[in-house]
Symmetry: C2
Subunit: 337 residues, 2 copies
DNA sequence: TTGTAAGCGTTATCAC
DNA sequence: GTGATAACGCTTACAA
């Protein structure tokens, strides 16, 4: 293993000081044109790779942004991460990705690790609200922390998120308008309070009865869980309309219906969340709640950059919340077409 | 923004030297039990967070592993990343994730960035074989680089991968055994040479004619591309059997068939790759090539750790290749059931 | 058991 | 324009 080349090696090679090399490498105008190009030439020849760890130490800046999410297998969240990664890269930042498996302690651990690694900022898809204190203390320590969820409760830090309440409201409302008075709901539990609230709000606003047996709770978003939820929900005969808090859940339910000979949408109307490609291509194209992912990631990244710039002023201000409004992508499964 | 606490702050607080604090924090037995606990108490009280950048600089080790893949939205690859992230974390490593968008130059840039960040190792899902020289030079510089693809060509670095040739061979063979003599193939292009080879090998072995019009090439793995590929493939009447190099492609083709009134598997037999949950839950459950993801990630991670330990010996050895063998998950879509 | 001093590879400050 | 020198926060000899 050939030892790594340092600026010192280049300096020795040319009989210059380390300082000159350092400046020349960043094209400082303070260094003579000729010296500059000589330095850069030798750097290339020796295959010099700058050590960004050393750089980070002195500059107190790593150009790394942490990104915490429950599971990389969640298509919406990983798509968000993907878009942000490219946007951050454009500005010279890289991303450290960590998952929590929806576990409060893992989330806390992930935050600690990222802080220890001196990241310049953190994006967090929180698993629940249990780490609020830690989140607040990170914010008040001046580390930009942007939450990727939020809603009607007071946010513990700056946040950019899709308004899930509104999404669920619109979807439920849509079903109600189509005449359904009995609407089932498949929910992912604690992480879906907002959606659940939206669903209930419609029931209240339209004075429809809320019935616990119309709610199925699942542990995570998968076809399998949706299938099981449907079987539970429809144990005593079909529920004529169902809102699922993810497309996968809806598609699992769709399969259950198919196997029982229930037609969608004739016998059961179905709406999902996230508008995945799978929704569009399903055997019965799925109506789904959707939003502009690009808009969210663009706003999230620019909020992050602003926070990084204003680091000290940030702490004193109220957390900033940016909401993205969803719309309904109407297809065949809800029976409106 | 409250200044960050350093070991020096703890030392001053207790009238100790920085060194003592450093040792006490890592529970060194050289430090008096009492001092140790006092130090740790104060550390906790001041909310001390170790600066791992400084640590990395002196130890010449970052405990960060780079992970490069084309797109985070590829479910197989991101699942691999997810599993590895958790395994690495168990051993104190974190992951820096970068994407290449299947672009040679982005891949090269990502490698440079990771090297500059002094990562202890790199996992790479290569986009193609164009960066082979760079890959070789990284290996010979003693940086562990584990490729997550490979096959019948000589690998430029250590590698752990699913044997795609064998997967395609098994799938094609399966269709051939069912009596199909005209088998279509939907391929993702350069990234799928191995699969394509496997497909062709069966044709050769069984003396079936290879026909270019039975091959559809797509730009990426999506339902939409599969849909288009099917329409191209079947422009002059249905092809009775089709192997797609991803489940998404197969499911897109499935939709095309449904829309034209072609039944699967009666009119068209279909096989996909990757055995995603979507394959199992499709309207016609999809036969698919599958493999043990856990086995692959476990082997990849332990190979990485071994390479990190043997760093200097590594360079001289031949690259190590670990192949995982796929199997066929047979469901309704191929007509064998 | 604890302290002193050197060093990791950069950047930043200030002379010359 | 270029070069000393200090600093970043930690670890690791080695000394006391």
């Amino acid at each position: 293993m050939s030892k790594r080349i340092r600026q010192e090696d280049i300096a020795k090679e040319l009989g210059l000081s380390i300082n000159t090399v350092s400046l020349a490498l960043k094209n400082s105008s303070r260094i003579n044109e000729e010296t500059r190009s000589k330095v850069q030439q030798v750097a290339k020849a020796l295959n010099y790779i700058p050590n960004s760890i050393a750089r980070s130490l002195v500059q107190k800046k790593t150009d790394v942004i942490g990104f915490i999410l429950p599971k990389m297998t969640n298509p919406v969240q990983i798509e968000t991460a993907q878009q942000m990664e490219r946007k951050l890269l454009t500005s010279g930042y890289n991303m450290m990705l960590m998952t929590t498996d929806s576990d409060k302690n893992y989330e806390s651990q992930a935050l600690d690790i990222l802080l220890s690694r001196q990241v310049d900022g953190i994006f967090l898809f929180p698993t629940n609200k249990h780490n609020q204190d830690k989140i607040k203390s990170i914010r008040s320590a001046g580390i930009p922390l942007v939450l990727l969820s939020g809603g009607r409760y007071k946010p513990s830090s700056d946040a950019v998120y899709m308004n899930q309440f509104s999404g669920a409201y619109q979807a439920t409302e849509h079903l109600a308008k189509l005449g359904y008075r009995e609407i089932g709901f498949i929910t992912g539990g604690a992480a879906n309070v907002e959606k659940f609230d939206g669903y209930q709000a419609v029931l209240r606003d339209r004075q429809l009865e809320f019935r616990e047996e119309l709610v199925a709770r699942v542990s995570h978003f998968s076809y399998e869980q949706g299938y099981k939820a449907a079987s539970k929900l429809m144990a005593n005969g079909p529920v004529r309309a169902v809102l699922a808090s993810s497309d996968y859940l809806a598609l699992g339910a769709l399969r259950w219906c198919r196997e029982r000979g229930l037609r969608v949408p004739e016998d059961v109307a179905l709406i999902g969340f996230d508008d995945l490609e799978a929704a569009e291509y399903a055997e019965v194209p799925l109506t789904s709640v959707t939003y502009k992912g690009e808009e969210l990631t663009t706003k999230a990244v620019s909020l992050m950059f602003r926070l990084i710039e204003e680091q000290e002023r940030m702490t004193s201000k109220e957390p900033e919340c940016i909401e993205i409004n969803p719309t309904l992508s109407i297809r065949k499964s809800c029976g409106a077409i």
